[in-house]
């Protein structure tokens, strides 16, 4: 039977900690407003110049950009939260105190990231609310169910990469080259800021090796044009394929990382 008390305890602890930094907490919310406003006026500047490339996504750059930036937050959270939270607990000295309790390291790693994912979900929701209420974002055709399924698959894929990265840091203590590569290539090749159709053909081929490409394409179709699950099958199958490869790999990498760190006696060192 799953013990829900521990993840809830982690969430409560992180929520209280975050709120204790009151100014920073509200600034993060205000930051979203200024980001969305910036996207809106940037899109207004471009006008219809990019329309040929945006036609597959409804033709509006503001909508295209908002979804790209909002959902790429999940990419960052998935990649960085696991390794980042372990490192924070190591620096704070609290990891050792947690490991003394009858709590598996996997529970600690996953539960530590719960707040990050929930806050990211909250911030994405705020992005959309501001977009809809203040800047006329049209999501009346949105297929929420499909969007949520895509979100779950995206979290699985990027969390797997994040856990592999965390395993790396557990052994070597510094550096997350995998995260850097995935993050940078996402922005460049994944369709976050511009459609991949803008890229030359040889770069466009590389885009298809990045899971964010499928996420953003499918989410845009689902939210802006109301595509059904059937119509999104190619992207869903691609994301499932990435999940099937990366999830078991991440579990193996994590087990190896923990075993190695325990042998070295370096689990709580940073």
């Amino acid at each position: 039977m799953i013990n829900y008390r521990k993840p809830i305890a982690f969430f409560k602890k992180d929520l209280v900690s975050e709120i204790s930094y009151q100014v920073a907490f509200f600034l993060r919310i205000f930051d979203i407003f200024f980001s969305v406003a910036t996207f809106y006026f940037l899109a207004k500047l471009l006008g219809t110049a990019a329309s040929p490339y945006l036609q597959p996504y409804g033709g509006d750059y503001f909508s295209f950009l908002l979804i790209g930036i909002a959902f790429s937050n999940f990419l960052s959270t998935g990649l960085e939260s696991f390794a980042g939270n372990i490192r924070i607990e190591q620096l704070m000295g609290t990891l050792e105190a947690m490991l003394v309790t009858p709590t598996k390291l996997s529970v600690i790693v996953l539960s530590s990231s719960l707040w990050n994912f929930l806050f990211t979900s909250f911030s994405v929701l705020i992005h959309f609310l501001i977009g809809v209420i203040l800047f006329g974002l049209d999501v009346s055709n949105a297929n929420i169910g499909a969007a949520l399924l895509l979100l779950v698959l995206t979290i699985i894929v990027f969390s797997s990469i994040g856990i592999i990265s965390a395993s790396f840091i557990m052994i070597f203590k510094r550096g997350a080259p995998l995260n850097w590569v995935v993050n940078q290539t996402a922005r460049f090749l994944g369709g976050v800021l511009y459609p991949i159709e803008v890229l030359p053909p040889w770069l466009r081929k590389l885009s298809h090796f990045h899971p964010i490409t499928y996420t953003l394409k499918a989410v845009r179709h689902a939210v802006l044009q109301g595509y059904s699950l059937y119509m999104l099958i190619p992207e869903i199958v691609s994301l499932v394929f990435f999940s099937v490869i990366l999830l078991p790999l991440s579990i193996l990498a994590f087990k190896y990382g923990v075993k190695k760190a325990k042998i070295q006696g370096s689990l709580t060192q940073y």
Partner: protein, 243 residues
């Protein structure tokens, strides 16, 4: 486990919130955590500060919190890593008294205490394991260690003028197998010798008859610190086998 590492708490949470979090990690239910916090805060006199943030606590209070956290799930065995380090003498004495009287004598808990303060080990421990360079070099009760150590005694000799030729004379007469001399200053030496009355008598006679003006000459009662130093210097390594 109790450590003196105050960083192992969340400083922006209150004492209560910290204990609630760790209580959950020990698989305790909410009601159990609530009851245990009430009991422990009363026992450790933390009631007045539990709603304050951890970063506002004094060092002594932080250490009490570490003890409260270790006790939240009512374990039978507790590991304590230097629980009185960085505490002022008054608070350190309170903590030691709490460990001895409340945890061990009242509650019957087993404490495994790691400490560099040998007086603390002498005061608190029923059995002592001496480690040097990661190895156990002696294990036993304090009585057993004293008995083993008392196979040699130490004579402290302070003179009014530099000891000079006294040291080689002592070695010449007594023999280097029977005594070991540690020179602390030119007028202060320690002489370790087998705990035999004849040898002690011979030694004191020799010192008195050398003509050196003696300021102080006394046979020391062995302390755990002396036992440790001598064990670590491998003077008594063979005693480990005999304990």
């Amino acid at each position: 486990m109790v450590t003196c590492e105050e960083r192992s708490f969340y400083w922006r949470l209150t004492g209560r919130q910290n204990l609630q979090f760790y209580g959950a990690l020990y698989n305790l239910k909410t009601s159990e955590i609530r009851n245990r916090i009430r009991q422990l805060s009363h026992l450790l006199e933390l009631e007045d500060i539990l709603e304050q943030r951890f970063d506002s606590y004094s060092t002594g209070t932080k250490q009490k919190m570490a003890i409260a956290r270790a006790l939240i799930h009512d374990p039978e065995i507790i590991f304590m890593d230097e629980p009185t380090r960085s505490l002022d003498p008054l608070i350190a004495a309170e903590v030691r008294s709490f460990i001895k009287k409340e945890l061990v004598e009242q509650q019957g808990k087993t404490i495994v205490l790691a400490t560099h303060q040998l007086q603390e080990a002498e005061q608190l421990c029923d059995r002592i394991a001496v480690m040097n360079r990661g190895q156990f070099i002696a294990v036993g009760s304090l009585e057993e260690l004293h008995t083993a150590f008392e196979k040699t005694r130490v004579c402290v000799l302070k003179t009014k003028q530099p000891i000079g030729q006294l040291t080689p004379l002592l070695y010449h007469v007594m023999g280097s197998k029977e005594i070991f001399i540690r020179q602390i200053t030119p007028t202060f030496i320690e002489i370790e010798f087998p705990n035999e009355a004849i040898i002690q008598g011979k030694l004191t006679d020799l010192i008195m008859n050398t003509g050196v003006e003696v300021e102080e000459c006394k046979i020391l009662e062995p302390s755990l610190e002396k036992i440790f130093v001598h064990l670590a210097e491998n003077r008594m390594g063979q005693l480990y086998d005999k304990l």
